[in-house]
């Protein structure tokens, strides 16, 4: 088994903020998806959502407000999972509810620090 990081990206500015019901529906889909990974014993850490605002540090201590306003997509959250291979990890990622909202999932193998 290898460990993988899922990085969830989307263009959060373009996203319509839905009704309370739609938000609840989306939350449920996320929870169900993560639950199904956990049920397979493959969820290491369901991870976190990241707030939209942030900072970006550049060399020589230059700090700008971020994240990455010059590009549309930003990172919205992450999870840690286990899988036998990249292919299996990608299969799992295909079920991510964020994909139905125009987002993407970056799949990266982890090198334990």
């Amino acid at each position: 088994m290898k460990d993988f990081l899922f990085v969830y990206r989307a263009d959060y500015n373009a996203m319509q903020s839905g009704t309370a019901e739609q938000m609840q529906e989306m939350t449920k889909r996320w929870m169900d998806w993560l639950g199904s990974i956990a049920a397979q014993g493959k969820l290491i850490d369901r991870g976190n959502r990241l707030n939209n605002s942030g900072h970006v540090l550049k060399p020589n201590n230059v700090v700008t407000n971020g994240p990455y306003m010059e590009i549309k997509e930003s990172i919205g959250g992450y999870s840690l999972i286990k899988a036998e291979s990249y292919d299996e990890a990608v299969e799992i990622a295909k079920g991510c509810p964020g994909l139905t909202m125009g987002g993407s999932v970056e799949v990266r193998e982890i090198n334990r620090l």
Binding site: M31, L57, L113
Partner: protein, 117 residues
């Protein structure tokens, strides 16, 4: 106290480093993280090798890196505890990744306890 994710962005993941450079960089990174852990502010972290990464797009298309719309590549991340974004940014300033021209560290507050991604 809040938690912040420091995301290491490398300008070009294909840039080749010598084994000596990698070793020196590893030591600097371990010392940097050790310094944060010694203040009891380290939560977790991981390195992300550049090879063989994939992106699953919203239309189900799977591509290899580079990722998103930028050629920048995430090389790893750590999560730290800090009272403010400024304190988290202070930690980020010590990150050895910033020695590479064009590299950046993104500092993002973790949204807690709302049960949503």
């Amino acid at each position: 106290m809040n938690e912040y994710m420091l995301i290491f962005r490398h300008e070009d993941g294909n840039r080749v480093a010598s084994p000596q450079q990698i070793q020196a960089w590893m030591k600097q990174t371990m010392d940097w993280i050790g310094g944060i852990a010694a203040q009891n502010k380290f939560v977790q972290g991981n390195g992300l090798p550049f090879d063989d990464a994939r992106v699953v797009q919203h239309d189900g298309v799977v591509t290899n890196g580079p990722f998103g719309e930028i050629k920048e590549t995430i090389g790893g991340y750590i999560i730290v505890k800090a009272d403010s974004a400024d304190e988290a940014a202070e930690f980020a300033k010590g990150c050895p990744v910033l020695q590479g021209d064009g590299n950046t560290v993104e500092v993002r507050k973790i949204a807690k306890a709302d049960g949503v991604h």
